[in-house]
């Protein structure tokens, strides 16, 4: 499919219509051929001379004092290079506390790369064994004898704040990490005067990212240079550089972070993990390269988990369908520490920020409480907070519609913020530049052919087959400014930079501070630079993920690579074009403004007539500068940085639809079809946007139906492997239709907003509403995900 650019946008879009523009075209990504041939280089593939492999001894208990650690037998085992405890590692690495100052009152305890006094969740590392092979390291790890004194375990977030519950970090006083209350309008009055008030409690199970390549790091401290080189699958190389330098007592300039191919991230690989810092510290301690690759079991107990929220929600509605108030009480358990440095309070914060944000309703009360527990830590994973806010909002809206006998489409038509009401602000205080809820809704209905679906549903119902239709609109936060982390004191950059350079054959070398984990950031960067500068895309080569060789920047997270990194690339490409044309003008004795670069040639801007090829300009500049007029100094390199300034975030919006079949005998839910309309502003590459949306949707469907980290009351993860933790596979997933509305942001010339989390934001809500539609004749409503067969049967009273 081809996307048409919306040329009615507020600024400079005509610039994008340059001849031979790649903007809006589905250009295949340049790095795919190598990956299809198995010729990628992932961190797990990296091998260095003298490299040791680390295996961690991990606590089998969720909460236990470490009484003693006996390492002699392990040290004597074959191939062992070193056995290191937390206390020993503390000599080369300082601890950290995962708080941000703008999340007022957020507290957490100091965390060490390897636990010293006590282990606070099952899986926390208590010792490290480095050996010549991973197998030897694992063998020796079994010989490390740790004497534990078990401590009372806090698992249930509902009782975490009760006076009788033990406090995990006594020095903090209680198990409350953070709390936020937000009130807008007059919710009490609105509820009191509403024709109906509907309440429901929603549950969001803990789940995790399950990147196919587990977390991996190779740290190489060269004592000769005093320099640490770290190959790490990370979304934020400069952030990792800063953190490692800070805690290993090195200047940032002596830490180089390299990020090659990454086997999936989704937020899992944007955090600072204790075992990864430990690997770097071990390299410094042992003065040789050390490699850590989490195995799948370790991934389940140490990769951040997400969600684990219980939300009590209320909605007030009038008989005519006007929504008058929303209220939520969100409780979330984040594990024993707030994750470093992004903290584990952001998800709850976003739930408060986004609930009800699609609607005009001015009255809102939200309470969020974030509590500690002895489970693995939770933190930001794809679509942070969005699926929760969306499912609560859209679940309540459907319940309200049902109560007053209104069509779910009608109640949304009546209450969404109208497309002509922008700019405006939500009741949570979110600033919206321009969204398109109405257009997106109508487009979705078209794509779904709602009438035909309803006919099919009715016909199936007559045969005793229960099908349901659900829709869910959502907002998505993208292109974050410093408002996310920088204002809270974290050294996480919100700006990005791109350097472009013309080589001696007229090819373009691009170095960008955003990173590539499969979403196509490099491809989009190449498209943008090729268009801005004027060369065929084959002549553009993009490098990312190297703190020595790219400008300083944030990386790729929170749907920012295309919108922020892309704009920097656009600006840099334009500057380089100007630089090259001024030299070409000097050679051709023409005015630079009358020239242009198109398809790799310097041409007359007016007529398009060829004046000289780029490689000729490059040849003269690099090899015969003596022939240039006096005073002409070619500068064939340009750098530009970009950060949005007018809005803290570029909000986007969209809507999803789901058609499901529920088997009332077995409780199985079959996904028949899924639709999504989203609005990411200017679409730089339609195919990449569509595939981001599809992949994101499936990451929302998994937790809706299957994915759940199940803990017992002792804090033991019961299903920490891929056989027992169910992920979506090809057979269960539906075909997914994706459509677009395009409302470019006026902040940048490109007008692109993010698209990476739209799919995940609304998928579960659409399915939940569809399941409840299917089950409507039974008079039951499901409000907790995953909606497992057991939960369906329980709701139906059949087990």
């Amino acid at each position: 499919m081809s996307a048409k650019l919306d040329t009615t946008g507020p600024t400079g879009l005509s610039e994008l219509d340059r001849p031979n523009s790649y903007i809006g075209r589905s250009v295949p990504r340049p790095n795919l051929t190598r990956l299809t041939q198995g010729r990628g280089q992932y961190v797990s593939d990296v091998v260095l001379p003298r490299m040791g492999h680390v295996a961690f001894v991990r606590s089998p208990h969720a909460h236990a004092r470490i009484v003693s650690i006996e390492t002699a037998a392990a040290k004597a085992a074959p191939g062992v290079i070193a056995v290191v405890t937390g206390r020993e590692l503390a000599g080369v690495c300082t601890p950290w506390i995962g708080v941000l100052t703008h999340l007022k009152g957020l507290k957490s305890a100091p965390q060490h790369p390897i636990a010293i006094e006590k282990a606070s969740w099952q899986g926390e590392a208590v010792a490290a064994v480095v050996a010549q092979t991973r197998a030897q390291a694992e063998d020796a790890a079994e010989l490390v004898a740790v004497d534990y004194e078990e401590l009372p375990v806090v698992t249930d977030m509902e009782t975490a704040l009760d006076p009788g519950t033990p406090v995990i970090h006594p020095e903090l006083g209680d198990n409350l990490a953070w709390e936020r209350l937000h009130v807008a309008g007059d919710p009490d009055a609105a509820f009191a005067s509403a024709d109906h008030v509907i309440e429901a409690t929603f549950g969001f199970g803990r789940h995790t990212g399950v990147t196919l390549e587990p977390r991996a790091v190779v740290a190489d401290y060269n004592a000769g240079d005093g320099r640490l080189t770290v190959y790490q699958a990370t979304q934020a190389p400069h952030m990792i550089q800063n953190i490692l330098a800070k805690h290993l007592d090195l200047p940032e300039s002596q830490v180089r972070v390299l990020c090659k191919d990454v086997g999936g991230s989704f937020g899992i690989k944007v955090h600072v993990y204790a075992d990864e810092v430990a690997t770097a510290a071990l390299s410094k301690l042992l003065r040789r390269p050390v490699k850590f690759v989490a195995d799948r079991i370790e991934s389940f107990v140490t990769d951040i988990h997400a969600r684990d929220h219980r939300v009590k929600g209320r909605i007030g509605v009038m008989n005519d369908g006007t929504i008058t108030a929303f209220e939520i009480d969100d409780l979330t358990g984040i594990g024993p520490y707030s994750m470093y440095p992004r903290t584990s309070a952001i998800e709850a914060n976003q739930v408060v920020n986004f609930t009800g944000g699609q609607y005009t309703c001015p009255n809102y009360r939200a309470l969020a409480r974030v509590v500690f527990q002895n489970k693995n830590v939770t933190c930001q994973y794809r679509a942070v907070g969005h699926p929760i806010a969306c499912s609560v909002t859209e679940g309540l809206v459907d319940l309200a519609a049902r109560r007053i006998g209104m069509d779910p489409v009608e109640i949304r038509r009546k209450n969404v913020i109208p497309d002509d009401a922008y700019p405006c602000q939500s009741s949570a205080g979110m600033k919206f530049e321009r969204l398109s809820h109405q257009a997106a809704l109508e487009k979705l209905l078209d794509m779904m052919d709602l009438e035909a679906l309803r006919a099919d549903q009715a016909e199936a119902r007559r045969r005793g087959i229960h099908r349901g239709i659900g829709i869910a609109s959502f907002i998505e936060v993208t292109n974050p400014s410093a408002a996310f982390y920088g204002v809270g004191g974290a050294r996480i950059s919100s700006q990005d930079g791109v350097t472009v350079r013309m080589d001696a054959q007229g090819s373009i070398h691009v170095a960008s501070s955003v990173t590539e984990q499969g979403q196509g950031a490099e491809a989009v960067t190449a498209q943008v630079v090729a268009t801005a500068f004027g060369v065929p895309i084959e002549r553009v080569r993009v490098v990312t993920g190297d703190t020595d060789n790219t400008p300083y920047g944030g990386g790729t997270w929170a749907s920012r690579a295309a919108g922020i990194g892309g704009e920097a690339a656009w600006q840099a490409g334009k500057v380089l074009r100007g630089n090259v044309l001024s030299v070409a003008g000097a050679i051709l004795q023409a005015q630079a403004e009358n020239l242009d670069i198109r398809d790799g040639l310097v041409v007359d801007a007016e007529t398009g007539r060829e004046r000289m090829p780029l490689d000729e300009v490059a040849r003269i500049a690099y090899f015969r500068p003596d022939t240039l007029p006096p005073g002409v100094q070619p500068e064939f390199v340009a750098t530009r940085h970009y950060v949005p300034k007018r809005y803290p975030f570029a909000f986007t919006n969209g809507i999803q639809g789901s058609y499901v079949e529920v088997d009332a005998e077995t409780g199985f839910i079959k996904l028949l079809k899924h639709w999504c309309v989203e609005d990411c502003g200017t679409i730089l590459n339609p195919q990449l946007v569509d595939e981001q949306v599809r992949g994101g949707i499936v990451q929302g469907l998994g937790p809706a139906l299957y994915e759940h980290c199940l803990y017992d009351e002792h804090g033991q993860l019961l299903n920490g492997n891929m056989a027992d933790y169910l992920v979506p596979m090809a057979f269960e997933m539906p075909d997914i239709e994706v459509g677009h509305v395009s409302t470019p942001t006026g902040e940048s010339e490109l007008g692109a907003k993010g698209a990476g989390e739209a799919g995940t934001a609304g998928a579960a809500a659409a399915v939940m509403n569809a399941v409840n539609d299917a089950l409507a004749p039974f008079g039951v409503v499901l409000t907790s995900i995953p909606m497992t067969p057991e939960r369906v049967l329980r709701a139906l009273g059949r087990v």
């Binding site: 589905s26 295949p28 990504r29 795919l32 051929t33 990956l35 299809t36 041939q37 198995g38 010729r39 990628g40 280089q41 992932y42 797990s44 593939d45 197998a135 990212g209 399950v210 990147t211 196919l212 390549e213 587990p214 191919d261 990454v262 086997g263 999936g264 991230s265 989704f266 195995d295 799948r296 984990q517 499969g518 979403q519 196509g520 195919q687 990449l688 595939e691 599809r694 992949g695 994101g696 949707i697 499936v698 990451q699 492997n721 891929m722 056989a723 992920v727 979506p728 596979m729 090809a730 057979f731 997933m733 075909d735 997914i736 799919g759």
Partner: protein, 163 residues
Amino acid sequence: MTPRPLSFMVNGETVRLLVDPRRHLGDVLREDLGLTGTHLGCEHGVCGACTIRLDGEIVRSCLTLAVQCEGARVETIEGLSDSGEVADLQEAFRNRNALQCGYCTPGMIVTAQDLLLRHPEPTREEIREHLSGNYCRCTGYHAIVDAVAATAAGRTAKGSAAA
């Protein structure tokens, strides 16, 4: 655990090694032979990232002990790429953006090729079913199904043009 001699054919080359009996084929391919196109995602037989061809059948190299492969013929993504056998599948994956991070892709392509050799004209359902042992976290599968279907159609068209 004494290392045992192992002699087998990998991508058309005879290889002789000494390997610990406990090591699985995936590790030996990756670590001893540098064939890092075979990926490890779970090492317990669920994700399919490590899929290779052993004597013409697809197997999970993480569930296959290297010493079981004495005298066997092993083909990995590197071999299948260089012989050109899966070139059209690779092209279809690229054009359809049927990979994002690419970590599942070698296993997907080996598995898809197995399907197309057995069933040259599979339905979408059959494609989804055959790929159901291969986990992909990035794509949501739709694009992969499209790419395999497009390859099947391309091969069928070519076959009937030749006939």
